[in-house]
Symmetry: C2
């Protein structure tokens, strides 16, 4: 019988399951996120991995993400920072599942020097995975940024997550794009699709520049006033808005100088925008593949237990 | 026949019409804003003032607000800052209306030292009205803040509006309250209504304090993490969010020191929150009634033409 393990990133909006053999992905299955489960998590997982069960039970199953929250399968308590991979794995919930064991990995919690709390659930797996994939990242101090709906900036030192901060950037951008009066169609000129792409890029650069000059609270309305007064298009305005919120995040996250490149983990297009913002501040970046980091982090479960 | 004038603040969401006799309000009528007009602006205005027409035609009608935008009755070009009341009134559009004349007052446009544009439409009437009501405000330099959906901070000098900046604070708060994951019910404990009021106030004070310590981009997510980690209620979280966005606006708007009190024009409860934020920064405030300022500004039309 083939020996295989199953690892899964089970977030709010989707489930991504991978079958691993000797560390390589040999198959994958996608499923619903915890916000839209048609059945119990057990039943959804059972259906998703049914084809693989023909090869016998998996050697292990490890899951990360919001499946470990109160709205998921089991509310797994956060592990407090500083936390290395061993402390993190020790916080996993181990559940019986069809004769196998499912490990639901915990999130991390931290408090900054003033005691302000923060939490993550899912990104810690990518961070530990990134350090497993790149031993240099596991030695000394590094900054790791994970852009997204709730972007995280973590400080790691010698393999442990010392602390982190969450930026609402992705959610804020989507809210302002979809629901605000800032970038509605029609305020500026219409343009052809290829012009729109170029305008969006130019707007993004202008937004990054403006984020350095003006606090976010006083800069956001420019998205509209520049359409009205500078005849900017909606595409330009959306790029400008993206530049403003990403620029504000990067400025706040890098306010304290620190040597060394920033490790960016996530969607390549989005990470590229962060790399552009960081380059403006004189900071180099490395780019990590989000899925590969998540798989590597989940695969740690077997080696750490 | 009684001599009377009609002044009206006709914004996106509502029309407020006042009948003035010798400067005093003798009647008022409310109607739909320009976003929900059941008929042409002429027809809506005609119906609204019909009872007053029994006393003969009005001596003048002056309107301000979004009725002067492209989606209103007539797109009235912005008047460029610096602008005093005479320059502003000279920019009004004068339309024939049932044998009378309707003046639609223009908005103002400005550009800061870097050339960044901004616009207002409606608030300028309150600013000129405030200076008409308080001659001291019309001499020397003063800061006037008009909190709201799109809050404005204007610099006035010797009766002229030199420039201003728009803050998206009210819209941002409403978006984050109604559409984000930050302050959903259920993350923290439930509480009785009177406890909720106290919690909201305490949250607001905590948000103001946090706004001084952390840029908005990195502070917003605390609204959620403090519910999760400090067992804060939804009411506390909404107060905290309000404190964060108002604190960020006030910090940005008062970054350049300037002597003298800030004139606050608007809803008393909201203005009170701004006064609290300004007091933390050592700034005194005066409070002006928004409706009275708008009426006084609109009444200038007769004296300036």
């Amino acid at each position: 019988m083939m020996r295989y393990t199953i690892v899964g990133d089970w977030g709010t909006s989707r489930l991504r399951l991978f079958r691993l053999e000797a560390g390589a992905v040999t198959d994958r299955r996608d499923g619903p996120g915890i916000a839209a489960l048609p059945d119990t998590p057990e039943a959804v997982l059972r259906a998703a991995i049914a084809p693989w069960r023909d090869d016998g039970p998996p050697a292990s199953i490890s899951l990360c993400g919001m499946i470990g929250s109160r709205n998921g399968w089991r509310d797994v308590p956060y592990v407090a920072c500083p936390a290395d991979a061993a402390a993190w794995a020790a916080g996993a919930a181990r559940l019986d599942f069809d004769g196998s064991e499912v490990a639901i990995m915990p999130g991390l919690a931290c408090a900054d020097a003033r005691g302000v709390p923060d939490v993550m659930r899912g990104e810690e797996t990518q961070i530990f995975g990134a350090m497993a994939l790149d031993p240099a990242l596991g030695r000394g101090r590094h900054r790791i940024a994970l852009p997204g709906t709730h972007g995280k900036w973590a400080e790691v030192e010698d393999g442990a997550v010392r602390g982190f901060r969450t930026y609402l950037t992705g959610e804020l951008f989507a809210l302002l794009r979809d629901h605000s009066t800032l970038a509605r169609a029609g305020a500026g000129p219409a343009e052809a699709p290829d012009e729109a792409v170029a305008a969006e890029r130019a707007g993004f650069a202008a937004g990054l520049a403006e984020a350095e000059a003006t606090p976010l609270a006083g800069a956001l309305f420019q998205t509209r006033s520049r359409q009205l007064r500078e005849a900017r298009s909606q595409a330009w305005a959306l790029g400008f808005l993206s530049g403003l919120v990403i620029g504000a995040e990067v400025a706040a996250a890098t306010a304290e100088p620190q040597a060394g490149a920033v490790m960016l983990i996530g969607d390549p297009a989005l990470a590229g925008r962060y790399a552009e913002a960081l380059a403006r501040r004189g900071l180099a970046t490395h780019l990590g593949d989000g899925d590969a980091c998540a798989r590597a982090g989940l695969a740690l479960w077997e080696s750490l237990t």
